[in-house]
């Protein structure tokens, strides 16, 4: 087990997660809070969970709405929760990226780290967002499980496509790679039947761009930090 390598990836992920938090608070969280005003004003609200997931006996449970009641979230406050989750998420994406590099026999360095980051951004953010735009609270959307499945399949196919295009030299591989990346968008993401929304379109478009900007920032930091941490803490293991 390459323990130093694992620790180096986790450190890089935590670092990127910390930096993501202020970026979110500048660009995306204000828009989320703004949208929740429409969500709460709409009266209808949205149900957070699929009905099957909650087995509470009380009939006609009022949909949980943000910012008005204490949800079952961890008691760290909104900022604390987001910071914690960003740290954990950063470590998760770092571990996946580090694992991919290990499988492929590639070394993430300070110089090429930004490309690993850009690949991660393309795979996890840009490709899914291309057909399934990042949503604000109170925006209409298709069934959650269907969208999650589409998201997951798109991420996996795009990862395969990026590998075939970037790391394989054969022409057929690059063609298959393009097909893999394009396929989920030709198939199409699940769409809501009724697109009418209480959230102003301007807010929604601003949010979509803001999320891509903050996530691009996150991935560039993560890729570079991965290269730096692995080069400085784990190269002895990889050169063995």
């Amino acid at each position: 087990m390459l323990v130093k390598y694992l620790l180096a990836t986790i450190i890089a992920g935590l670092f990127a997660g910390i930096l993501l938090t202020p970026a979110m608070y500048v660009k995306t969280v204000p828009l989320i809070l703004h949208a929740e005003e429409y969500e709460n004003a709409g009266g209808e609200g949205h149900s957070h969970e699929a009905p099957a997931a909650t087995t509470e006996a009380a009939p006609a449970v009022a949909p949980h709405e943000h910012g008005q009641e204490a949800g079952p979230e961890l008691p760290l406050g909104r900022f604390g929760n987001t910071l914690l989750i960003n740290l954990v998420a950063g470590a998760g994406f770092a571990l996946i990226t580090g694992a991919a590099a290990l499988f492929l026999g590639r070394r993430i360095t300070l110089q090429n780290g930004i490309y690993w980051g850009l690949a991660g951004f393309f795979i996890f953010n840009f490709a899914p967002a291309f057909s399934l735009a990042p949503e604000l609270p109170a925006m209409p959307a298709a069934d959650l499980a269907t969208r999650q499945a589409w998201w997951l399949i798109t991420v996996v196919l795009t990862a395969g496509g990026v590998y075939l295009i970037v790391l394989r030299d054969e022409i057929w591989a690059k063609l298959v790679g393009v097909v893999l990346i394009v396929a989920p968008h030709v198939y199409g993401a699940p769409e809501a039947e009724d697109l009418a929304s209480a959230v102003p379109p301007t807010l929604a478009s601003e949010f979509a761009v803001s999320t891509l900007a903050t996530n691009l920032f996150f991935w560039v930091v993560l890729g570079t930090a991965l290269g730096w941490a692995i080069q400085n803490y784990a190269s002895s293991e990889l050169d063995a």
Binding site: M1, I32, G71, G92, T97, F103, N112, L132, W151
Partner: protein, 59 residues
């Protein structure tokens, strides 16, 4: 040493990398699933802003 430092590949054979790669991948998938996709209400509410901001399908 300079060539080793700037190398983009890992000389270590696959057999020596595989365990770490599998552990790292599974751990990473487990974490990202929990942060982004799990239907647990506690996880959803805690991760709410991150899910929206990251572009995970949320509601």
């Amino acid at each position: 040493m300079a060539t080793v430092r700037t190398s983009n590949t890992i000389s270590l054979p696959l057999a020596s990398r595989l365990t770490t790669a599998v552990v790292s991948l599974l751990l990473g998938i487990f974490i990202v699933y929990g942060v982004g996709l799990s239907h647990s209400e506690t996880l959803h509410d805690t991760a709410h802003d991150t899910r929206h901001s990251y572009g995970f399908p949320c509601h």
